[in-house]
């Protein structure tokens, strides 16, 4: 029974996040259209895209290694669903459903979709795809460190408030409920900036979408996918778009507060983060991969390290605004 309950939670959370993700994708396209003085697509558009892809035939290139090529999108989707289940459970019932060190589990699981992308692209045997895969590898090497440091700032603040070092999302949410959000401090702001830009790269959005560069390398990593695998890839990306702001809010912006005001505040914060991702996407050109690496390693990582140092100083000498 316990197993069935767990599977039930996973399925509900994954399907719910998929619906939320498709809605977020529509919101993204609608805001893009408004920024460009057009009318955008109707609200059911991402759903129509996914359904249409399920009904097309799947073509496999003769140079592809079949198993890896077809399994990679499914693996990415499954781990995205698992992350969604863990995060929603930690958000809604922080005391009960959040287990110790689930932040680390989430970080590991969030690495699986990009690695599945790389494996699938390498398995397709296409030179464009291998170019996209090498760019994706360089991207992962660049954005993971600032992202982890930003989450570390959240952990340090939570420890500073309650005195106990906890790596569980529920612990972070509860500590922020007591002492105020991590975001309302200098290190919190720096951490949020690094986290948002790292999320932009993780979601594969302009200016960091060199792996899937449409019309530059003919959709790079996804060039050989068609039909059902492509539908799975689109669903994975929608779910990641729905899940990443959730992680940021849990770690850095206070989680879900109590009652109706808390829920409304949460919805507002979530919408603000998704809008931020969209607006950054609409106002920037795509960077080259070496520019991206320089930006992350020489710009964002020092900022994140500074945030960690300020957070440690703030905790040691109890200066709350640092």
């Amino acid at each position: 029974m316990h197993v069935m309950g767990t599977i039930g939670i996973y399925v509900v959370a994954a399907v719910g996040t998929l619906a939320l993700g498709l809605l977020a994708k529509w919101y993204d396209r609608k805001v893009t259209a408004m920024v460009q003085y057009r009318k955008g697509p109707p609200v059911y558009q991402p759903l129509a895209d996914v359904l249409k892809l399920f009904c097309k035939e799947t073509l496999m290139p003769s140079t592809a290694r079949g198993t890896g090529f077809l399994i990679a999108p499914a693996v990415g989707l499954a781990s995205a669903g698992l992350v969604a289940a863990i995060l929603w459970a930690a958000l809604v019932r922080p005391g009960v459903s959040s287990f110790p060190a689930d932040l680390i589990v989430v970080i590991y699981l969030l690495l699986i979709p990009p690695i599945a992308t790389i494996l699938g692209a390498s398995a397709s045997g296409n030179p464009h795809a291998s170019l996209g895969a090498s760019r994706e590898m360089k991207l992962i090497l660049s954005y993971e460190l600032p992202f982890l440091l930003a989450l570390l700032v959240g952990v340090i603040h939570a420890a500073g408030a309650g005195g106990v070092w906890s790596l569980s999302l529920g612990g972070l949410a509860e500590a922020q409920a007591e002492a105020g959000s991590t975001l309302y401090s200098v290190s919190g702001v720096l951490a949020m900036i690094s986290a948002v830009l790292a999320v932009q790269a993780k979601l594969g959005q302009v200016p960091f979408d060199q792996a899937e560069a449409e019309c530059e390398i003919m959709s790079g990593v996804y060039v050989e996918y068609s039909g059902t695998p492509l539908a799975l890839i689109l669903m994975t990306r929608a779910m990641l778009l729905a899940v990443m702001p959730l992680l940021l809010i849990l770690a850095l912006w206070g989680g879900l507060g109590g009652g109706l005001p808390g829920a409304l505040a949460f919805a507002g914060k979530y919408l603000l983060l998704v809008t931020l991702v969209t607006l950054i996407r609409n106002t920037n050109p795509r960077l080259r991969i070496d520019q991206t690496m320089k930006f992350f390693w020489l710009g964002l990582t020092p900022a994140a390290v500074l945030a960690v140092v300020l957070a440690v100083i703030g905790r040691t000498w109890t200066i709350t605004w640092l």
């Binding site: 035939e57 799947t58 073509l59 496999m60 003769s62």
Partner: protein, 176 residues
């Protein structure tokens, strides 16, 4: 022939840069057809094409603009158009690749710019360039037969067209 040359060269106008350049080529110039302020046309000896090209290229401000081929009764006329940059002159030198072998020396070893131009002339007109470093097909497609030259006057654009390229072979296995 000598009278015609000297008469025309004696009529070189005031600027005279074109006439000066043609005079520098010496006796490789067989006949001068035109020698205006900014335009010169002369026929050169087809056996001395490489030497003329070397001399023209060594002159200051000169570059090879392009080469063209004409299908004439006696063979293929290869025209070399040289542009002289600061003054804005164009000097055209004509060399006849006489039929039926249509052979003429290639200047691609001296001027890499002429490499592709000569390949194109070979593809479309059938002019053969001796000592060309890389004579491959350039602009006709892979299924075009050898020996059929489409820009010859004897080629009818519709009636002499070779059969269309075949459909590429289907892959052996399809995914279910």
């Amino acid at each position: 022939m000598a009278d015609v040359t000297t008469t025309q060269q004696a009529q070189v106008p005031l600027t005279g840069v074109v006439g000066e350049r043609l005079r520098a080529l010496g006796d490789a110039v067989v006949a001068v057809e035109r020698c205006d302020e900014r335009r010169g046309m002369a026929r050169i000896d087809p056996d001395r094409v490489v030497e003329v090209a070397r001399k023209m290229f060594a002159m200051p401000g000169t570059r090879l603009a392009t080469c063209t081929g004409l299908d004439v009764r006696d063979g293929v006329d290869v025209l070399y158009h040289w542009a002289v940059e600061p003054e804005g002159l164009v000097i055209t030198l004509k060399a006849l690749a006489a039929g039926p072998e249509l052979e003429i020396d290639s200047i691609a070893n001296e001027l890499p710019a002429a490499n592709w131009i000569e390949r194109e002339m070979h593809d479309l007109l059938g002019a053969n360039f001796r000592n060309h470093p890389d004579m491959r097909r350039l602009i006709l497609d892979d299924s075009w037969p050898e020996g059929v030259y489409p820009l010859r006057k004897s080629f009818d654009q519709v009636a002499d067209r070779p059969p269309p390229p075949p459909v590429p072979p289907a892959p052996e296995e399809d995914l279910p």
